[in-house]
């Protein structure tokens, strides 16, 4: 038998307790799979006295998590504190420098400082593992870094935030609006008191940033990522989209063509009968396009003690088995600065919804603007016709460059007959 692998867990929130629970419940099975004993030696958290769903009394309590980095009885530091700066960053840096492996669920930290941390791990010949940072229980980091390692990856699409997907699913199923469903999600514990991180797309953007790095061999670069959340999506948008056979999903999209990358987080229309459209509620999914696999998609729970804990434990077992793979799939010296494509040239189909005054000539004005900007309409429907009410127009376009559709929508928004801010959403044919 190999000697035990000794683990220190910093952070005993939902995921930290989930990890402890898995180790306690499946202890013999995990040791057999790892071919050595996996031992939690110490734990740390902000509040020692807080009631927790697991008993941690068998592990030494460390008041200051940073002390873990220099302990002789720790081989792996599990960082579940969170945050892109502060204790989490200091702890991980110290641990790597001291030759300890690190397992983390910290997507913000990796999106902002992934490259320098990968360099530290490489220099000190230890592993920096982060399966839990993206899409909870889905082993997508492993799939991309190992399972699809034969492929030149061309694109990645993901539903990466369970809170947003839950809200959009509830809105569709119940016809209620964003604010109502958000409040309910907060009551149920599916959304934070301050929901901005989730509903404004920031969390999804952190994850997408990591996926881009893995997919295309570039340094994570959070700054270059345009992000649109879901606050502006109305119950009507969802209904109109459904009438056309689509569902609205907050997608993280990253693709690479001729060495130039475009990435974005934004609500998009996807076909309701696609395997992407079928991913509902709190579930996450990641779809990877590669030159050999064509495409591969994974679905699973994106958060929670069990799923995220599962990914942390999988990383620990990998380390116990002697895992040795570069942090972002290639040696750090091979990671390049990304070349960003001009997203104005990004061609997609689009969906548009306009609320207009019911009078002659409006449609002609809109059609004129579209034509002027080379936007070709695929289908158009005028949804109500009541002299007392505004007329709803939904339309879908053929493929058009983003700069053209943006010019068109701005011009349309300025037409006197257009009553409210038009909605424009990308249609993704995946």
């Amino acid at each position: 038998m190999n000697k035990p692998l000794r683990i220190g867990i910093a952070g005993l929130g939902t995921v930290g307790c989930g990890v402890v629970d898995i180790f306690q419940r499946n202890n013999a099975l995990l040791n057999m799979r790892a071919k050595r004993d996996l031992e939690i030696t110490c734990v740390s958290s902000q509040n020692k006295e807080r009631a927790r769903p697991v008993d941690t009394s068998a592990y030494e309590w460390v008041d200051n998590a940073l002390d873990m980095a220099s302990r002789d009885d720790v081989d792996v530091i599990v960082e579940l504190i969170g945050g892109e700066e502060g204790v989490a960053k200091t702890l991980i840096e110290a641990a790597l420098k001291n030759g300890k492996h690190v397992v983390t669920a910290n997507k913000a930290l990796l999106a902002h400082h992934g490259f320098s941390l990968a360099q530290l791990a490489e220099k000190n010949k230890v592993q920096l593992m982060y399966e839990a940072a993206v899409a909870g229980g889905i082993p997508i980091i492993k799939s991309m870094r190992e399972g699809f390692a034969g492929n030149k990856i061309t694109a990645v699409y993901g539903i990466l935030n369970g809170t947003c997907n839950y809200i959009l699913t509830e809105m569709r199923e119940t016809g209620r609006d964003f604010e109502t469903v958000l409040s309910e999600a907060q009551e149920k514990g599916f959304a934070e008191a301050d929901p901005s991180f989730d509903v404004d797309g920031i969390d999804a953007a952190h994850k997408l940033c990591i996926l881009s790095a893995l997919a295309f061999g570039v340094k994570p670069d959070y700054k270059k990522l345009p992000v649109t959340g879901i606050r502006h999506i109305t119950a009507s948008d969802i209904t109109y989209a459904e009438d056309l056979g689509y569902r609205i999903k907050l997608l993280g999209i990253t693709h690479c063509k001729n060495g130039e990358i475009i990435q974005s987080v934004e609500p998009c229309l996807v076909h309701e009968d696609s395997t992407m459209g079928a991913v509902e509620g709190v579930f996450n999914t990641v779809l990877v396009e590669g030159d050999a696999i064509d495409h591969g998609q994974s679905i699973g729970r994106g958060a929670g003690a069990g799923p995220t804990g599962s990914s942390v434990v999988a990383d620990i077992i990998d380390i116990a088995r002697g895992y040795n793979v570069p942090t972002f799939g290639v040696p750090c010296e091979a990671l390049s600065d990304a070349n960003w494509a001009d997203s104005g040239k990004w061609e997609s189909r689009f969906y548009m919804h306009l609320s207009v005054t019911d009078r002659a000539g409006v449609l002609a004005d809109i059609a004129h603007v579209l034509k002027e900007n080379n936007v070709s309409v695929e289908a158009l429907a005028q949804l109500s016709h009541n002299p007392d009410n505004p007329v709803s127009i939904t339309l879908t376009t053929h493929k058009v460059a983003q700069e053209n559709i943006t010019k068109a929508i701005n011009a349309i928004a300025g037409l006197p007959a257009v009553l409210t801010e038009p909605t424009m959403l990308r249609i993704e044919e995946i």
Copy 2:
């Protein structure tokens, strides 16, 4: 730089040429990811002169594949010959004994001889890799053996045969019957001239057998696997199922409760709006249930040069990176003989279709048989009512033990008013 990893490829059919193509196309990328050069040193196939889509002239041609096992310039043997006995088995055994790693796509061989081959690999401290053996381009072996290693796996469900899924999808979309669609699939190259291996479920059963071993830590045991194919599925069955909101899929199912395993390959009804029901055409999927992840599902192409080749190359890169994981996830001594549960006690919901004479009392007779066997009806529909034609009855049941529904269907089949063999299919709520 580490020294090169030298590869011998035995078998240059679709997948073998796919592997060569990936190596040639993505050479620099693969070497960077593997952190060492990956070199094909020799190849072998039955017919040297056959026209192939790749140029193999740079590699030494070996007339007898078995000779590869003893070559000094080969570290990894890629076995793509196929078959559960014969050259493939002899080659793999010799290679493992000679301390060479083996990568194979041979599901039949692993289903029949997986345990003894795993013992050989373990004894000789080399890797026996088989990502390509199950579900083509989907990295499901890796997900189960590593990604979900923190979980006690409770069940696995898979659409594991692309030919069957293509046929069932075509039947549903076009309303045509099995034989017509099969013929067309054969013309298009989606089905073999002798389709039995696919449409009778044997191929899916081989794959399920491997997944059972991985999921529950048991020795692969192909003999204990009941298999029903899709030849008896009619266009009407598919329509009736669709009317109830279901699609018919050939599922591999394996689950474990209290240490007892039930496994089966059979056509089942799954919800049309589920992520399982949305997997159509030649695509495969595997859904894993575990105590931590809840459930995780992967979707991808199940066959073809690119997807299957991708999995072979991923295995090779793993080996190049120093991968060291037991063949079935745990050391051989920990693999147990499976305890098989009495499948008669397996409780599921069921779908039934009956074609009966249109006369008074028939429904009462059927209801009586169901009641006698403790089968509780959830919904029942009489689909046509024309004095000149038989009446179609479809019904779904509440959960009932397989032995009860089997007794009931046998008794119903014997009723004078029942005109044709009744259809009975399991409903899977996944």
